[in-house]
Assembly symmetry: C3
Homo-oligomer: 390 residues x 3
């Protein structure tokens, strides 16, 4: 990897022992949950809207979305990559950014993330985003893919698979996934909430629900908890590592129905050797850490929120280090669209881990080697293990 | 404003850069959710009971409520305003306090808060408390008012408005509010919980519920979720900025039914341009920050808890800065009765903001101007905007 | 007490004023919720399994449970007590530990906790654990006991008490408890969840539920919410201080059904003068602090989690100091089996309290005497009061 065009420990050098800092500067990450960057230029309205996970602009018209934790952090860390001073004004940032075409911007930002493996979720508005191959070209390293279970099942319905054949066709689909697919993801939290009956549906149950879905006509949208539970159980039966959207997301979500504790019946029932990855988790990251501690197969990350919390993300990263064994946490940016997010996630995570572990090392609570070992697990080894990235 | 008789950054001068500290020392606040101070002297039992939000005394008889986070902070910050050393003993504090009459005490304490606009909730035991005019006289600046929806509706029933006329009479009431009323508040959390059916009731629904309320006789107490949902929807339809009690309150409350996530169906349904202010929010302030980030009209504060957490409030204030755009948070003390609470809320908020933003500025995460801008929004500009305080 | 073979403020001396540090080093604790240590040697697999509260091993086979917050803290603090350097390797630790017999190990570790009163829960797998007398012999000081309500009731059924006699027999049992029993505990959270109907059952209700329990045959396992509510109400009626398992525990638990807010109907109904102690509470410790502030009889601790969070426990301890009056919090280790846990709980609590209170004293928020008084209450006086340990 090229040296990073920034020092993630600028301003906190005295808080992070050199052995910890150097290790965190150098480690290549596996970003285990990420989307492509935009492959076309944006206007400023589109850019500001993209700074808000909720997809609408929650601030009044006269206030810029730059006036948010994420906005300040982009000015702090990404401005220097565009040739500006850290914390250059929003106007200067926008002007400098506008001088790049989409590809150069992606090369400059995504390429500075220090990520060598991108585990890409291709299930959502994939056509305005870089493909996994394009992302890997911009960012360096390689890409693998995660298939979205709801999209897969909707695709079968769209292609005319009847209610009687749906269960078997879905199983065939899972068995025939291409080699670059290393896992599956469910967005049950967006579709029906996680507080559903997680018992395994029979093929007859699937038939009845699928018939209703067909009757609705039009472009199918999967919200039936029976079909979603079916898809999840089938993925686990195929030993596909399973990602589950948890917590923080956009306003389509009912946040309390995205609490990971709703998954306990599924986790008790599921095979203990098929990894389950709880994504994002904020503000339920302590609950996620508990589940990762209690259940053999559970892992978690605090992606997305790390970016959106900006300078405050170091406390979130510290809280994520509270309970779970170090083998149970993974790194992700959950970057979507803006290439700023691909690199910022990496910077804030390295900085936050350095502040958290650095304090413990300085105080004698941990050895430097403990810190390096935990970093290696979370930065990449755990992801390599659960997705079998050899 | 007169200079404050304390330095909010005493003991932490080296942690808060001067440009941030001076700005936080000087900014005049809008206290957007506050009650009057007591307008008569208290005995010590009454004083100690007032130190507990729960309205009963939760500590054993031989222990003083001074032995609480709030109690220590009053000794720390208010003792010097009464001519004592910081952290003077509880006995010395009580003795000095007793030498003031209610009005002098209010002038001394409320008048040191550095607040120039008091947005006063007059809906609860208003007769033992200073009026908004008296509060503004003691504290300096001006006052405006918030009308409590449940009180307004109960008042109509008490005045003999029949079930058939209640809906229309309530609408007339809202249309005829005096100019000093800048918003409405609901205490649904205390009356029926927030986990109700938030769909908009018809006038027929209101009639049926009102008939039941009349049948109960006596002084009416509004707990019917249909009538409460009606009142809330009517206030929003009148474009009245809406305050909602969330989280921490006294023991009448079921705390989990005061989680702001229960409001999602209402927020989706409500007009996006009428501001909704989530009050207090602890320990659901992260959920509140999420809603403020996701929904155009949602704002929040962490008042009340700032006072009750005392020295620990700086972490709460930091957590409140995690996710929401800076245009979506407001300052409040939620002081009630004790004039100590009117000034302490201001001191602890300034100190907590200084520690939070000061760390980020020292580390280079934020520019000083970013800190000043965020302070101005939260301290007053957001309140001026949502309540149209021109 | 013998001087501790460690300094709990090593590495943080400059953060904790001497007057606070010395007091925290010296205070003898009442460990108000603890179990016996193992009275036989373990093999390494058993030891590593015991490092996980969930009772299974949640990490992959090639990773040691030492790679967890708890594991690092054991190497940090217990290694020196076994003659090793702080943070000696896991292998060296295991080797040194293996050279001790169970009794010597207990004497060495438990005996260094600085606890002079052990309030022992004897209700769970008591036969592989030291008795309260053995624990007191190893640890120094004295022991008293907590009876587990579910175990008591199951014992009556096992001994053949019929459904008609069960209610009265249980009351007789409670009235006849030996003098060393100072309180009762319910594990309702494990048996039926805390979200049950907490109204007081009649003897007829008990009869009907008991008949069903008898019909099940075999070794009875009490999960019926009617019988559990009955047992709890009877204990309160006998004025037995009541411990309630809350929050963090093993995977048998549904964590969200162990939220203390489910207890509100019981707390409103219960006699205000019989102490209720909420145990563990993580990650619901803020909710527990709220209840301790709002309800006269409610107390809480953050035991168990303090050990499992390791170096991160100082933030948990700080959060536990947010809202509750100081008379409402207690110290516990909730150590079970591994004698490391009996001493580590004490060390981490002293260190965490020193960091929390030390910061406030350094900043002038608290006086040193405030810190010492709060420590005395939480370390021992509150436990002496609620359990009448005279």
């Amino acid at each position: 990897m090229a040296p990073h065009p920034y020092d993630v420990f600028a301003g906190v050098e005295d808080l992070v022992p050199a052995g910890v800092a150097d290790h965190l500067r150098a480690v290549d990450l596996v970003d285990h949950h990420v989307h492509g960057h935009y492959n076309a230029a944006l206007d400023r309205r589109e850019f500001e809207d993209a700074l808000n996970e909720g997809s609408t602009n929650p601030v009044p018209p006269h206030i810029s979305m730059f006036e948010s934790p994420l906005g300040v952090s982009i000015r702090r860390w990404c401005a220097p990559m565009l040739g500006l001073e850290p914390l250059a004004s929003a106007e200067a940032y926008w002007e400098a950014r506008s001088s790049f075409d989409a590809w150069s911007l992606a090369r400059t930002l995504v390429g500075s993330a220090g990520v060598d493996t991108w585990v890409v979720d291709t299930g959502f508005v994939g056509d305005v985003l870089a493909t996994p191959q394009q992302l890997a070209a911009a960012g360096g390293g390689r890409s693998v893919e995660i298939v979205r279970l709801e999209t897969l099942l909707e695709g079968l319905v769209t292609r005319g698979v009847g209610a009687d054949e749906l269960a078997e066709a879905f199983r065939a689909e899972l068995r025939g996934l291409p080699a670059e697919v290393v896992g599956a993801k469910t967005v049950a939290a967006y579709r029906c909430g996680l507080d559903i009956d997680w018992s395994r549906p029979t093929d007859d149950d699937v038939r009845a629900s699928a018939a209703r879905l067909h009757d609705e006509g039009g472009k199918p949208r999967l919200t039936d908890p029976v079909l979603i539970a079916f898809a999840v159980h089938e993925a686990l039966a195929c030993e596909l590592p399973l990602q589950v959207h948890i917590g923080f997301g956009d306003r389509d979500l009912e946040l309390d129905r995205a609490d990971p504790l709703h998954l306990v019946p599924l986790l008790r029932d599921a095979p203990g050797h098929v990894p389950v990855m709880l994504l994002h988790c904020y503000p339920y990251h302590r609950q996620a850490g508990y589940l990762a501690q209690a259940f053999d197969q559970v892992h978690f990350d605090v992606g997305l929120a790390v970016n959106f919390l900006g300078a405050a993300s170091s406390r979130l990263i510290a809280e994520a280090m509270e309970l779970a064994p170090f083998a149970k946490q993974l790194y992700s940016s959950d970057a979507f669209g803006l290439p700023e997010l691909h690199v910022l996630g990496s910077i804030l995570w390295r900085r936050g881990m350095g502040l958290t572990l650095g304090e413990w090392v300085r105080r004698g609570d941990w050895a430097e080697s403990d810190a390096r070992d935990a970093v290696d697990l979370i930065a990449r080894s755990n992801a390599e293990r659960v997705y079998r990235l050899t």
